[in-house]
């Protein structure tokens, strides 16, 4: 179940952004995409996630476990996205946010148990009924990652997930995220401008634009 980028090229309008990006990420491995702002890091994630819209035009192929993703809408790609801000839905409780990510069809009791279990891995036992607004930045970041993992994705896309956190929380979140990726064995793309992220999480580095 690897995530493969095959010869991806992108233009914004007539401006070329990057070209010939080919990478293969194995299960449980992390590719750290680095580069200055404007180099197309976020565009690359949008292409993979299915959110690339005009004026971005692109060619190439994205494959997940041999499945071609190019023409699938975002909700059918089975990719877990985590952004710089945790984006917890403010109208739902912490537990409801986690439940939103889970696939339907299980019994309510089982769902509740899964949520409790997830909360305990994050050290947030008993937080299910809390208002997301009452959580600290680090706690929100954990819930956001767990919500994504509970949706049972086949790969993870992390867009600058640590850049809004303070130094102490950052170290903590890197370790937590790396552990989750190892446990779930998901191929992961981490977009970042901080080399310490790649270092701490033992990621393979890839620089945009490719030199």
């Amino acid at each position: 179940m690897s995530l493969d980028l095959i010869n991806l090229s992108a233009h914004i309008g007539a401006e070329p952004l990057f070209s010939g990006v080919s990478q293969s990420i194995d299960p449980g491995h992390i590719l750290a995409v680095m580069g200055p702002s404007g180099s197309g890091k976020t565009t690359l994630l949008n292409i993979i996630g299915g959110f690339a819209a005009s004026p971005v035009r692109w060619t190439g192929e994205v494959q997940l476990a041999g499945r071609r993703l190019n023409s699938l809408p975002p909700q059918r790609r089975r990719l877990g996205l985590v952004f710089q801000t945790p984006l917890l839905f403010p109208h739902l409780s912490v537990g409801q946010n986690l439940g939103f990510g889970m696939p339907s069809g299980q019994s309510a009791v089982l769902r509740q148990a899964t949520i409790e279990q997830a909360l305990s891995t994050a050290g947030l036992t008993g937080f299910a009924d809390r208002d997301p607004e009452s959580l600290s930045g680090g706690q929100r970041a954990r819930i956001s990652l767990l919500r994504t993992l509970l949706s049972q994705p086949d790969a993870l896309l992390l867009d600058e997930p640590f850049s809004a956190l303070d130094e102490a929380t950052k170290a903590d979140m890197r370790a937590f995220t790396a552990a989750q990726i190892r446990n779930t064995a998901l191929p992961t793309i981490l977009v970042t401008h901080d080399p310490r992220d790649a270092e701490a999480m033992d990621a393979r580095r890839f620089h945009l634009p490719p030199s």
Binding site: G50, S54, Q75, F89, P90, H91
Partner: protein
């Protein structure tokens, strides 16, 4: 569905041209009082809009850099009070035998009988202009407040203060030009509304001749085919007059902006404009007190049994039985309520459809997005006295809907348009990542919208519903003309009683109208507070 809003507005002018005919269009010029009626229309609407704009600016200038809490809290009730109720209250406040003169007599004025001069229905429509200004004031203030917050103008203002500018000059040089730009469309809408606000004009406006909109309404009600065609011609004249006046207004604003740029950089820390704004800010506060007095006088007259001149209070009071019979369990009540609920809900759905279509179109081209925006507000860009008769004609020449359905249609055009204006900003400003997260979590589009985006937007959605409800409760012309006289609402009865001289009846209907408008408005606004009690991320100050 969306065509419901835009098609009548798009067809209004051609339909009127065809059905009134070139003869009537020329004859209309020769109607007695035509020129003066046109003059009154432009003066009252233009003065009302400019006055409201200056007072709104002055009030904002007074709170710039300070707490604007009292202003934010006092505007919504004023916004939700229907035009007709405000007009009736204002008329009873400033009439020769009104509350104001009673409060001042005989100790200050020496009068023991009502004076002969009258401040209401003055020949040039000045009292009408004041009435319009009072109703446009909260519209401008609320929009300007949100523009100030959205575009973070406060730091710029503080920077000007620290450079040694006095507060009102700093406001005039830094914030005002920006606000004028942000209020472009609202100014146009307010002027167009004002020039055909027939309910307010029937109560506060002059009668010989009345403003052009009322003249047109009287003529449209003429039973003869010839007279009726003349009425249609007049409503077309009104549209042309409105657009001409707007061109002049636009020219004035452009000139002012050019001058203002040079003036802003002349280095003067104090200015006459600043002093004038300081004075106007006092007038603005006085105007708010005046509006409250007008509503209180409504209350007094609704319950006054006997009230001898010049006593400041009634001598005896009515019972409470009319409250039940007239305000709660009457035909008027029933009609007002179902029209408001139905048109506000349909209008909300249409408004949502417009904004979402615009958001979708914006990902492709800006031109497509602007087209949606234009279609949504089209009904507000044509004078009501032009649009409503045109819709009636469209109906009479083919659709033949029952009056209740046609009246509902008329209401929906306006609830949808105002709903769109309320929803547009918050929806466009919503972080698109919420939607992307929901999609990436495997939810289909409709769930991302229904389970994530709309609940987060509940506060602006309910605000939009609240506006729709109060717009419908206030609607006069659409109920009267499209309901073909068969749908009696509080507005209709209040205006007809007021022009018929029945003071107590008018006050009671106007009070019932204001009561329902305010009740609806604040109930809708309180829904998010109840639902999101425990969600600080969606507290009022965030939305």
């Amino acid at each position: 569905m969306v065509a419901l809003v835009s098609v009548p507005a798009a067809l209004a002018l051609p339909v009127l041209v065809v059905l009134s005919g070139p003869e009537a269009l020329v004859q209309a010029f020769a109607l007695p009082g035509y020129a003066k009626a046109a003059g009154i229309a432009v003066i009252s609407a233009g003065l009302g809009t400019v006055l409201a704009l200056v007072l709104a600016g002055a009030l904002l200038s007074g709170v710039a850099g300070r707490s604007d809490r009292w202003l934010r809290l006092s505007m919504p009730p004023l916004l939700a009070t229907p035009h007709a109720a405000m007009a009736v209250g204002l008329a009873f406040l400033i009439a020769p035998s009104g509350w104001l003169i009673r409060l001042l007599s005989p100790w200050a004025t020496g009068l023991d009988r009502p004076p002969l001069f009258s401040m209401v229905q003055d020949p040039w429509g000045l009292s009408l202009a004041v009435g319009l200004a009072i109703k446009e004031l909260p519209f401008f203030v609320l929009l300007a407040l949100s523009a100030t917050r959205r575009d973070s103008l406060q730091p710029a203002f503080r920077a000007a203060i620290s450079l040694g500018y006095d507060r009102h000059t700093a406001f005039a040089k830094i914030i005002a030009p920006h606000l004028l730009k942000a209020l472009n469309l609202p100014i146009v809408i307010a002027f167009i509304y004002g020039i055909s606000a027939v309910d307010m004009a029937s109560v506060l406006g002059p009668t010989t001749p009345p403003p052009l909109s009322v003249l047109a309404l009287n003529q449209v009600s003429d039973p003869s085919a010839e007279g009726w065609r003349l009425g249609l011609a007049l409503s077309l004249h009104l549209a042309v007059l409105t657009f001409a006046a707007l061109l002049i207004l636009g020219g004035l604003v452009a000139t002012m902006r050019a001058v203002a740029g040079r003036w802003a950089s002349n280095g003067n820390r104090r200015s006459l404009v600043g002093t004038a704004l300081a004075a106007a800010s006092l007038v603005g506060r006085g105007t708010l007190v005046f509006a409250v007095l007008a509503l209180l006088s409504l209350l007094l007259w609704a319950f006054a049994q006997r009230w001898r001149f010049p006593a400041p209070w009634p001598q005896s009071w009515t019972g409470l039985d009319w409250v039940w019979a007239r305000g709660l369990m009457s035909v008027e009540s029933l009609n007002t309520l179902w029209l408001a609920l139905a048109s506000a809900l349909i209008g909300l759905l249409l408004a949502l459809a417009f904004v979402l279509a615009e958001r979708q179109a914006r990902t492709v081209t800006t031109r497509g997005a602007m087209a949606w925006s234009g279609l949504a507000v089209l009904p507000l860009l044509i004078p009501q006295m032009t649009l409503i008769p045109a819709l009636l004609l469209i109906d009479l020449n083919g659709l033949r809907l029952p009056p209740w359905m046609l009246a509902l249609w008329g209401h929906v055009m306006f609830t949808a348009a105002y709903g769109y204006l309320t929803l547009r900003g918050p929806i466009m400003a919503l972080d698109p990542h919420y939607r992307q997260v929901a999609l990436a979590l495997g939810r289909p589009r409709w769930q991302a919208l229904l389970l994530v985006e709309l609940p987060i937007l509940l506060r602006p959605i309910m605000a939009s519903l609240a506006i729709g409800l109060s717009v419908s409760v206030a609607a006069y012309l659409s109920t009267l003309t499209l309901g073909q006289g068969r749908i009696e609402t509080f507005t209709i009865e209040a205006v007809s009683a007021a022009s018929g001289g029945s003071r107590r009846t008018a006050a009671q209907f106007a009070l019932a109208q204001a009561f329902w408008a305010l009740l609806f408005f604040f109930s809708a606004l309180s829904v998010p507070d109840l639902l999101y009690r425990r969600r600080r991320g969606l507290a009022a100050h965030v939305a």
